[in-house]
């Protein structure tokens, strides 16, 4: 292989620098601050207490409390009360259920669009993303009016409904993108070799669509985990999810270190799920390409 010319190398850097710089400044650095912040102490009026001195932290002589430096107190709180684990568990359940419902609703629709004549597909895709044209909050508030008469408002059912409603397009689009690329000759071959309609779906279309299912599921599952607006508007007292917990910590109690800690735990949990999924997909030999 020949070495790239200096001008090519410069062009590559010039093109990739701005996004890399942007992501470093506004994603990598804040994530680092959050990670450190989760080990800090809240300041007197909220926010973060001074980090330094780390090794010989100030101790308030009156109440004996630490006033600077690092602590694992936030994590201790998290693990000493089952209410947090419960909120996490519930959030994962809501996210999982929302993902499943979205998948079941999106799959037939995505398949229908993918198998429509080419000139109709663009219009149908446009219809799928049309809801984005109106404001997210307005659409969620509209559900209050719909659910009110059915006595479902401020329940977990309402939360799930709202979640599914908002996230459905994020499942349809990756599924459609995947299904649209399937070579129709494979279905012909399946049929020719004796596969019935259902067998053609389960042995050809479905396994080939797994990458679409994975990416659609990630696009629904992860945002739902962090979502706080929908539980707040449509949910009841017992509808608090991780997103609400984080939002409360930052905005209501202004306990930034605690909020950072919960965010860290959420990030770790999501990474854990992603790792599990990728391990499962490899172990299960479901790796269509």
């Amino acid at each position: 292989m020949s070495k790239p010319k200096d001008s090519t190398r410069f062009a590559r850097w010039a093109v990739s620098m701005p996004p890399m710089l942007f992501m470093t400044l506004f994603f990598a650095l804040p994530s680092l601050i959050m990670a450190v912040g989760s080990f800090m102490i809240p300041g007197d009026t909220g926010g973060l207490a001074p980090l330094f001195p780390i090794l010989t932290p100030h101790i308030n002589p009156h109440d004996g409390l630490q006033e600077s430096g690092l602590t694992i107190e936030n994590y201790r709180t998290f693990f000493s009360d089952t209410v947090y684990a419960w909120i996490f568990l519930k959030s994962f359940f809501v996210a999982g259920l929302t993902t499943l419902i979205c998948l079941l609703m999106a799959y037939p629709l995505a398949l229908l669009i993918a198998r429509s004549p080419k000139h109709k597909r663009d219009l149908l895709v446009l219809l799928v993303i049309l809801p984005f044209a109106s404001n997210f909050l307005v659409r969620v508030y509209a559900w209050m009016i719909i659910l009110g008469p059915f006595n479902l408002l401020f329940t977990n059912v309402a939360v799930i409904l709202g979640m599914v409603y908002v996230h459905l397009p994020f499942m349809i689009l990756p599924l459609y993108t995947n299904l649209e690329k399937h070579d129709p000759i494979l279905l012909d071959a399946g049929q020719d070799l004796g596969a019935t309609k259902w067998q053609r779906f389960w042995h050809v279309t479905f396994p080939l669509s797994l990458p679409g299912i994975y990416s659609g599921s990630a696009l629904v599952f992860i945002p739902v985990l962090g979502m706080f607006a929908i539980p707040e508007i449509l949910g009841g007292k017992d509808s608090m999810l991780v997103g609400n917990l984080i939002k409360e910590a930052f905005l209501a109690t202004r306990d930034w270190p605690f909020g950072s800690m919960v965010s860290m735990m959420l990030t770790l949990a999501v990474l854990g799920v992603a790792a599990l999924m990728s391990w499962l997909s490899k172990a299960g030999r479901f790796q269509p390409r």
Partner: protein
């Protein structure tokens, strides 16, 4: 294979697409164990015919009988007929063994039975050690063999092959032709092979149906198609052929006399059913010999001309000679001694000659 009832019978099949008639009233009988080829240029209707036999398309008129039972209306998955697609259509998410096992799994066969069959099948196509590979990890020839093994594994009554060698390079294609013949003989399955390559058709088939424009021009064994083309289209389409326009002027027991305008009279073998009129003399280049202009010749059919061009092919050299009446004629000379590229130069005065017992007269349908 003559006495038994045909395996598959096409009866008066017609298929139209809008104003275009893709298949015009075709009737064919194909016998069990045959390697049957549908040969023709693209757009001649051969693929449409194949799709109707597979069940992906239905005829507008006519019947397709398998063992005497009409197949029209039976969906492809219920026909005991498999297809090897031009693009192979291997399932990209399944490995080689799973691809081959597919028809048996769909038929819900016993896993033990499937394992044995697949193992045997992999051996048959020389892919014993490739069972765990995915299709994209295979070469073109290997994919082709997987597609064949998959099509044959549950012993279909009929295997349809849609230009299966089209995507392979020349050398590989030749090897695959031999494997195809062996597979067909070994499995005993009837093959219907679709191709636009006359050399493939001649090499592989028991019988060939030469098609053009939606109908069958000639249906016969390869040597008959090559040696005795039914009409001008077949003569021109199959192999290289000199077609000399001529008038049939007299007929006796063994020979016919043909008058070629501005050149003279030539003699060709006679046969039953000929009558005087216009037509063509079909002469294969290998039937025409070429010598220096001043060489004495004892063959009755010989004419003077000039070498216009030659093509060195390796084993043979093709000379293009322009006769004194302006007629072009191709002659083949074998290059038996190594390094000998050609015997004549462009512009050389030469004589072309052929025996009176070669050549085939094709009457012009319009004048007879």
């Amino acid at each position: 294979m003559t006495a038994a009832a045909p395996l598959i019978q096409l009866k008066n099949i017609t298929r139209r697409f809008g104003n275009m008639v893709a298949v015009k009233n075709i009737s064919l009988d194909i016998h069990a164990g045959e390697f049957f080829t549908l040969l023709g240029p693209s757009g001649c209707g051969k693929t449409t015919l194949l799709r109707m036999i597979a069940g992906f398309d239905e005829p507008d008129e006519g019947e397709i009988l398998l063992d005497g039972k009409n197949l029209v209306g039976t969906p492809p998955e219920q026909r005991p007929i498999h297809t090897v697609f031009q693009s192979y259509a291997l399932f990209p998410h399944l490995n080689v063994a799973e691809n081959i096992a597919f028809p048996l799994r769909m038929a819900k066969k016993d896993p033990e039975f499937i394992r044995d069959k697949v193992k045997h099948s992999l051996e048959l196509v020389h892919l014993e050690d490739k069972g765990n590979r995915l299709p994209h990890e295979l070469s073109g020839g290997q994919r082709q063999r997987v597609a064949l093994a998959r099509g044959l594994i549950n012993q279909p009554r009929l295997l349809l092959l849609d230009e299966p060698l089209g995507a392979l390079d020349a050398k590989l294609r030749e090897n695959m032709q031999i494997e195809l013949i062996q597979l067909q003989r070994h499995s005993g399955v009837t093959f219907i092979f679709v191709t636009h390559s006359q050399s493939e058709a001649l090499a592989l088939s028991h019988r060939i149906a030469v098609m053009s424009d939606g109908h069958v021009e000639q249906l016969d064994e390869p040597s008959k198609i090559y040696g005795f083309p039914a009409n001008r289209f077949v003569a021109d389409f199959i192999g290289n052929c000199n077609l000399l326009e001529c008038d049939l002027t007299s007929i006796d027991n063994s020979n016919i006399s043909l008058t070629i305008p501005n050149l003279g009279t030539v003699y060709a073998p006679s046969r039953d059913g000929l009558s005087k009129g216009k037509g063509w003399l079909a002469l294969r280049p290998e039937q025409v010999s070429i010598v220096h202009a001043d060489t004495a010749i004892d063959q009755a059919n010989h004419f003077l001309g000039k070498v216009d061009d030659f093509l060195y092919i390796g084993d043979v050299t093709t000379y293009i000679v322009i006769l004194d009446n302006g007629q072009k004629i191709e002659a083949l000379l074998p290059n038996s001694s190594a390094g000998r590229a050609h015997f004549f130069e462009v512009g050389d005065r030469v004589q072309v000659a052929w025996q009176t017992n070669v050549g085939y007269y094709i009457p012009d349908a319009k004048n007879n």
